[in-house]
């Protein structure tokens, strides 16, 4: 395992005593402050972006596989819901790819998609509450993503903040 040899191997991290004094400001440290020498332009999928890539990847798989199955097996039950699931899957996939590829163009595209995603969650969330009969079956965005621990509504907000930060760092 490519373990940096300089690190003394800590025995069982969850022990309460802290063996090695790390920088004493764990919360307030700026993102990537612990990762110097990261010169690659627009490393969108690095540092905190790595976590975003994972979550967007998970939601891509969840939304896409769900909508493929539903469109194939039970299209007539709730076509609107299933098509919306497919659309959200495409949006998630696009953001995932943009984050991984990086660069200013991808950052802008991902920014637009995150905004669209947020709009989608808010619209569909309100719509499902106002007129539940339009949605006989759930989508990822139903009830503001309640079925998915509300991650669908936090994810675009986090994404937008992250993408903005990256922009600020580049200037």
């Amino acid at each position: 395992m490519p373990e940096p040899a300089s690190e003394s191997t800590t025995p069982q991290a969850p022990e309460p005593q802290a063996p090695e004094p790390v920088s004493p400001a764990p919360v307030s440290s700026a993102p990537d402050a612990a990762a110097p020498g990261r010169a690659r332009a627009g490393g969108l999928g690095q540092g905190p972006g790595r976590l975003l890539v994972l979550l967007y990847g998970v939601f891509t798989v969840a939304a896409a596989s769900r909508s493929i199955y539903q469109l194939a097996a039970q299209y007539h039950e709730a076509p609107l819901a299933y098509i919306l699931s497919a659309v959200s899957g495409v949006v998630y996939a696009f953001i995932t790819v943009s984050l991984v590829r990086g660069g200013e163009g991808a950052r802008k595209a991902a920014f637009v998609c995150c905004a669209a995603e947020l709009l989608g969650v808010l619209t569909i969330g309100t719509w499902t509450l106002a007129d539940p009969s339009a949605f006989p079956d759930e989508t990822v965005w139903s009830d503001y993503g309640m079925g998915y621990l509300f991650i669908p509504i936090f994810l675009p907000v986090t994404g937008l903040i992250w993408l903005r930060k990256r922009k600020a760092r580049q200037d």
Partner: protein
Amino acid sequence: MIDALTIALGVTALALAAWCGFAAYRDQPTKDWHFIGMAVVTLLGLAQLVVGIVRLARGEHPHDSVAIFVAYLIGSALAVPVAAFMSLAERTRWGSATVAGAAVVLAVLEVRLYDIWGGSGA
């Protein structure tokens, strides 16, 4: 039997999430011990995949559809190893946070699997 495995996997996933979340909180990357933990969870996930497929092959059926069941099985087998590779590439606290996130996702998948198979395993 599959229920026992599901519960075990859910609990170990949450433990892994807490452990790696703690490492992220302390501003540390994942270390060898964490990777051993990920390996344990991954093995459990693969065991669950095999058990699930064997039970399907023996003619037992999940409460929900077979396609959904298999999709969740595959997803829960892949979540942690994928995050492990991501944390190898990200040697900062955010690598630890990524593994913690994947482990939480895995725990949620296990809850869903439990429902999809039919709750009490009947």
